[in-house]
């Protein structure tokens, strides 16, 4: 079957999609968007996290046909545009790099998307910088085998603080 939906603001189509195929597979293998990672294919690790109609989901748990006509946002859509139109890391991405929250990087795309969601729900709604417990809770479905999480929590906190400062 053919599946058409929006990815990072652009309409895309994939052909010959098998009915049982996941959104993750379509993104990676049919649309050339390998940012979302495939590490478990069973909803456990969060490395495939994307937004589906504004809500974060494990894209390995979404059937491709369920995305028909919907809007998907992946880690590829996170980079910002600099003054002269060049792509630039977002505040969250910068903070991850700075804090050393990226080692092998396999978990990073999912963490970035889930972190963006957390910051939007906290700082973005005037609720301030989330406590560490809230950060850990929101990221509880994203596994990292390298960092031990401390640097990740630090990166999220830094990104939240900078977002709050930027909003003032």
């Amino acid at each position: 079957m053919r599946v058409t939906f929006e990815v990072n603001g652009r309409e895309v189509s994939a052909d010959n999609v098998w009915a049982g195929e996941s959104l993750l597979y379509v993104l990676r293998e049919r649309l050339g968007l390998p940012g979302s990672k495939n590490a478990c294919e069973q909803g456990e690790c969060g490395s495939c996290t994307v937004y589906l109609d504004g809500v974060t989901v494990c894209s390995c748990m979404v059937a491709a046909g369920q995305a028909q006509g919907r809007a998907v946002r992946t880690v590829e859509g996170m980079a910002e545009q600099g003054a002269s139109g060049e792509a630039r890391l977002s505040v969250i991405q910068e903070a991850f790099v700075e804090a050393g929250a990226v080692q092998c990087g396999f978990c990073t795309p999912g963490l970035l998307v889930q972190t963006e969601d957390l910051i939007a729900r906290t700082v973005g709604r005037g609720r301030g910088v989330p406590e560490d417990a809230a950060i850990r809770e929101h990221l509880s479905g994203n596994l990292c085998r390298c960092t031990g999480y401390e640097k990740i929590v630090e990166a999220v906190r830094t990104a939240a603080e900078r977002t709050e400062e930027g909003a003032r």
């Binding site: 079957m1 098998w18 049982g20 294919e41 909803g43 974060t56 748990m61 369920q66 889930q114 479905g141």
Partner: protein, 289 residues
Amino acid sequence: MQFLSPATLAEALAAKGEQPDAVPIMGGTDVMVELNFDKHRPPALIDLTRIAELREWRVEPGHLRLGAGVPYTEIIDRLRGRAPGLAMAARAVASPQIRNRGSVGGNLGGGSPAGDAHPPLLAADATIELASARGVRRVAAREFYLGPRRTARQDDELITAVLLPEPAGPQQFCKIGTRNAMVIAVASFALALNGRTREVGTGIGSAGPTPLRARAAEEFIAAELDWDEATAPAPTAVRRFGELVAATARPIDDVRGSAEYRKHALSVMARRTLAWAVTDYRKEIATCA
């Protein structure tokens, strides 16, 4: 394999009637695991996510009508007051991403004895609404679970909603697992006090071939409780309640825990949830008076 995208419930029911072995998919958090690992290759998937009424909830006289496809996140964010036990259980499911997709209808459709939604539905005496091209019927949650992953739902039926009676007292839920997130319960327990009928409801998860209700324990503690003042029940009564709950369970030894541990855990959860609920009830009475 076909992918069917019905836009209305009537279309979905017609499709399920024509192909009873077609697999409905809502949040996909059970279905996709099976497909990704090629454990099951059904002839068709019926996508239920485009049927608006399955994603809606509304308050009707005497109960909350929860569409089968309302995701856990919405239950946690919006329905804590109207479905407290279920909201606590929803909070214990998986991770934020899974809770954004997973639904009570999917939990009931899978019928796993470890599903977190089942104990609170049993305790609150919820009703499950089933529909097929033949019509609509309602089955009490307490009569829904028939055997291992076997429920009262017929092959041509879809689960359309869950009806949760308006709470008439505190509800509690407790779950044991190896982590605070992303765990299938080793054992779980739900409790509901009904101050109006002076009845107690219970639900046991992950400790038997189906979710279970501990009737003897319910009757025992309902007779023991001080419904007027909500003074703390005698320690011997609390202990007996825990024993009766544990005695109802029919757990097995598996990778998640031994049968003996599960029984022990249940008696502890029963005692704790009872203490929490009685304390809550005392506060409720004090506010009403």
